[in-house]
């Protein structure tokens, strides 16, 4: 059983991505980093379970129940869920939790219960959720402050903002123009923009595909399910 990082990295880098979507390199790094062992067998255990592994025999020495429990615990926890956050981005989730919590608490205090409402009233649950979210946000902050900065931390270096903004722009345009342009044109535009963001550059062919898909959807839905999609300006013109 010769397990090492390089052997695994070949399939992992190309197509060996687990459902949860961990960059496989990160997974292996984390396993090695978090355990500070550097022992090849250990690293393979964790990243192998994360779906990128090429070697299934890791962990054979353990009794099956334990191996299964470990495997289960580690699969159920694909690596991105345990990778610590680093950089300025590490405050995003705590801030989000605190913001939602604050809104919930504000709601709990301001929701007006009808006079005859039974207690606990409509503000009770939001209040509990808000309080728990604020506590959680505090816990996340503490975890962030205590967390050691390891090389494998999730610092969002892989994040490419430009294509994301293109897709978002496409969605905003689609929402804004849907009722004016109609489903056929607005839908085709959305498809085309998303394809562009994913790197499609055969503009004319993309446009033809986009129009055909949007048209197929419109026909399928109106005929098959009796759902009416907005026809927009095409409806007035034709």
């Amino acid at each position: 059983m010769t397990v090492n990082g390089t052997e695994r990295a070949v399939p992992a880098g190309e197509g060996g991505d687990p459902a949860a979507g961990t960059p496989a390199g990160t997974a292996a790094d984390t396993a090695a980093g978090a355990r500070e062992t550097g022992a090849p067998g250990t690293a393979a255990d964790a990243s192998g379970v994360a779906g990128a592994g090429a070697d299934g025999t890791a962990g054979t020495d353990l009794d099956p129940a334990l191996a299964a429990a470990r495997a289960a615990a580690e699969t159920a926890s694909p690596d991105p869920e345990t990778v610590p956050w680093s950089g300025p981005a590490r405050w995003v989730v705590p801030a989000l939790a605190a913001a939602v919590g604050a809104v919930m608490l504000w709601g709990a205090l301001t929701i007006e219960a009808p006079p005859n409402a039974t207690r606990p009233g409509p503000g009770f649950f939001p209040g509990v959720i808000g309080g728990l979210l604020l506590v959680l946000a505090a816990c996340l902050v503490v975890t962030n402050l205590r967390g050691r900065s390891t090389g494998a931390a999730n610092a969002l270096e892989w994040f490419e903002a430009r294509p994301v903004l293109i897709v978002l722009a496409g969605l905003v345009a689609h929402i804004a123009l849907l009722e004016f342009l109609g489903w056929l044109l607005a839908g085709a535009l959305l498809f085309w923009v998303v394809a562009y963001a994913f790197g499609a550059r055969a503009y004319l062919r993309d446009a033809v595909v986009a129009l055909s898909v949007a048209a197929a959807v419109q026909v399928g839905f109106s005929l098959g399910l009796g759902l009416s999609l907005p026809s927009g300006i095409l409806g007035w013109v034709l």
């Binding site: 010769t2 060996g16 991505d17 687990p18 459902a19 979507g21 355990r35 067998g41 250990t42 779906g51 592994g53 070697d55 299934g56 025999t57 962990g59 020495d61 353990l62 191996a67 299964a68 429990a69 495997a71 289960a72 615990a73 699969t75 159920a76 690596d79 991105p80 869920e81 345990t82 995003v92 989730v93 919930m104 929701i111 219960a113 409402a117 039974t118 207690r119 009233g121 409509p122 649950f125 939001p126 979210l133 959680l136 975890t143 999730n154 892989w158 897709v167 978002l168 969605l171 929402i175 839908g187 959305l190 498809f191 963001a197 994913f198 499609a200 595909v209 898909v213 959807v217 759902l227």
Partner: protein, 525 residues
């Protein structure tokens, strides 16, 4: 016996040409979605949810059943051919399955996966048929207090046990619960968090949340990863015929995998992946013992592409998929993301799963169970000859694939009420999904929170109203006390697992030197 008669009646009802067509469509769609990496059966069901508004409930559930089973199998195809599991429950299949493919036995691996899935779905459905009524007679003793305890149990199980980090799991759950309280309060009629918008008074539709978090959130996440996102490589396959030796070696794992999956499926929060790994570990251990007993190391093919390592986990994930329907139908308790969406689907039709459903809509329940049987037969018929064809789906250009998913996401949400405001909500939820994915916050607890949150709140307030504010009603019965004890135990599992993992690491470290020694010997021979 009565169960069998009911199931037979259901089968007669389900076997109309129209329903067969929906089952067929479901299996095809489910398999197609399951084959694509990153898209699970939960996403397929979420996208189909609004489409089924126009169908009658029976046809809709037949469609869902097909999608559910098809998705489970579709994931196996990519695990075997590409070493890329389509969803978490197929991860265990990759180890031996992809080795078999590399050894030129991809066709056999696919064959044992299809037949194993068929066998497991069949047995799993029978288990559901026999155990749901038992669950129902148990659930008849439940009052609001017990139901509230049940939802708390489900929350803790999903947030703490399934998630990698308890803190992140709970964050996801609470955000889901927060989304769930938006809209008019069902108990008092007071508007909550409507921010002056009339559309918000209806709350944030479950379809928006599921499509936003699962489908559109995934599109944004994949595009954000750019070049680091997976690419789909070329594939070789053949026809999946098994020889006699393959059959002999597959039957045992199928049976054991089915038993494991049926046992784990109904447990809230256990998910489909735990039994697959238990099955893989068990088959590996059995193969080792067999090799030792016969003194022939050839008997143990683990590590080189053992067919047992595909047959077991694939049977386990299909039977656990069926198993999750036991608490869903019997108690109205979803134990997976897909089940949560199916619960939402029941609610769209004004049906509340649980004891009442069995009393009032018994024919629907039995038709649904029978449609699961039909779904598993179709799974076999469609996928045994065409498995290699499915793999071709991966050759679809990525821009068009994701363009299509985006289009369908928008359509699914627009179809709810032809409201553009819903699309704005979808955009917001999709951004939330992107943030959660980017920071490794699990999405499933949020879905469970959105679906179960309102139920939890209603039951809680109903219980307190019944006792005129005396909170002791919440722990007033043996059932709720037992459930709270289980909650405490479930919360302890991650802690204990952490300790055991640390202990296991130490023993693994100790044995690494020994194992490396063995592997060198293997290399020489």
């Amino acid at each position: 016996m009565e169960t069998l008669v009911n199931l037979g009646d259901g089968l007669l009802a389900a076997l109309s040409p129209g329903n067969l067509m929906w089952a067929f469509l479901g299996v095809v769609l489910g398999t197609a979605v399951g084959v694509l990496p990153g898209l699970g059966s939960a996403m397929a069901v979420a996208l189909l949810l609004p489409v089924t508004f126009r169908l009658d409930p029976t046809s809709a559930f037949i469609l869902f059943a097909g999608v559910y089973y098809g998705g489970m199998f579709g994931g196996a195809t990519t695990s075997i051919l590409l070493n890329t599991p389509g969803q978490a429950s197929s991860i265990a299949t990759t180890y031996e399955g992809h080795k078999m493919a590399l050894a030129g036995r991809a066709a056999q691996a696919l064959g044992t996966a299809v037949i194993g899935s068929f066998f497991a779905s069949l047995i799993g459905t029978l288990v559901v048929a026999f155990f749901s009524p038992v669950m129902v007679s148990f659930a008849l003793n439940f009052g609001p207090g017990e139901y509230f305890a049940l939802t708390v149990f489900s929350f803790v199980a999903v947030a703490a046990v399934v998630s990698g980090s308890v803190l992140r799991g709970l964050t996801s759950l609470l955000i889901g619960l927060a989304i769930g309280v938006v809209g008019i309060d069902g108990q008092s009629g007071a508007p909550r968090f409507d921010f002056g918008s009339a559309v918000m008074l209806d709350g944030i539709d479950v379809v928006i949340v599921t499509v936003g978090l699962l489908a559109l959130g995934e599109v944004l996440y994949v595009v954000a990863r750019g070049k680091s996102a997976p690419d789909f490589a070329a594939i070789r396959t053949g026809r999946p015929w098994l020889n006699r030796r393959d059959w002999k070696r597959s039957v045992g794992p199928w049976v054991r995998g089915t038993a494991l999956g049926s046992a784990f499926g109904p447990i809230p929060g256990s998910g489909a992946e735990i039994p697959t790994f238990v099955s893989l570990g068990l088959e590996r251990k059995l193969a080792e013992q067999r090799a030792k007993r016969k003194g022939d190391p050839q008997e143990n093919e683990f590590g080189k592409g053992a067919i047992e390592g595909v047959a077991g986990p694939e049977a386990a994930n299909n039977s656990s998929a069926a198993g999750t329907l036991v608490p869903l139908l019997g108690l109205g308790l979803p134990t997976s993301a897909t089940a949560a969406i199916m619960l939402a689907a029941f609610q769209q039709y004004g049906l509340q799963p649980g004891p009442v459903l069995f009393e009032r809509n018994a024919d629907l329940v039995w038709t649904l169970l029978a449609s699961l049987l039909i779904g598993s037969v179709l799974l076999l018929v469609i996928n045994l000859p065409f498995a290699p064809l499915w793999a071709k789906l991966l050759k679809l250009p990525k821009p068009y694939l994701y363009g299509g998913i985006t289009l369908f996401s928008v359509l699914a949400v627009y179809a709810i009420n032809t409201s553009v405001v819903h699309l704005v909500m979808l955009l917001a939820v999709a951004l939330l999904g992107l943030v959660m994915r980017a920071f490794g916050v699990p999405v499933a607890p949020a879905l469970i929170g959105v679906v179960l949150g309102p139920i939890a709140e209603t039951e809680f307030r109903r219980a307190l109203a019944a006792s005129s504010g005396d909170p002791s009603i919440l722990v007033g019965s043996g059932i709720s006390i037992t459930l709270y004890v289980l909650v405490a135990l479930a919360a302890l599992i991650p802690v204990v697992a952490g300790l055991r993992r640390r202990a296991a690491d130490r023993s693994a470290k100790a044995s690494v030197s020994e194992r490396d020694g063995v592997s060198e010997k293997d290399g020489v021979s």
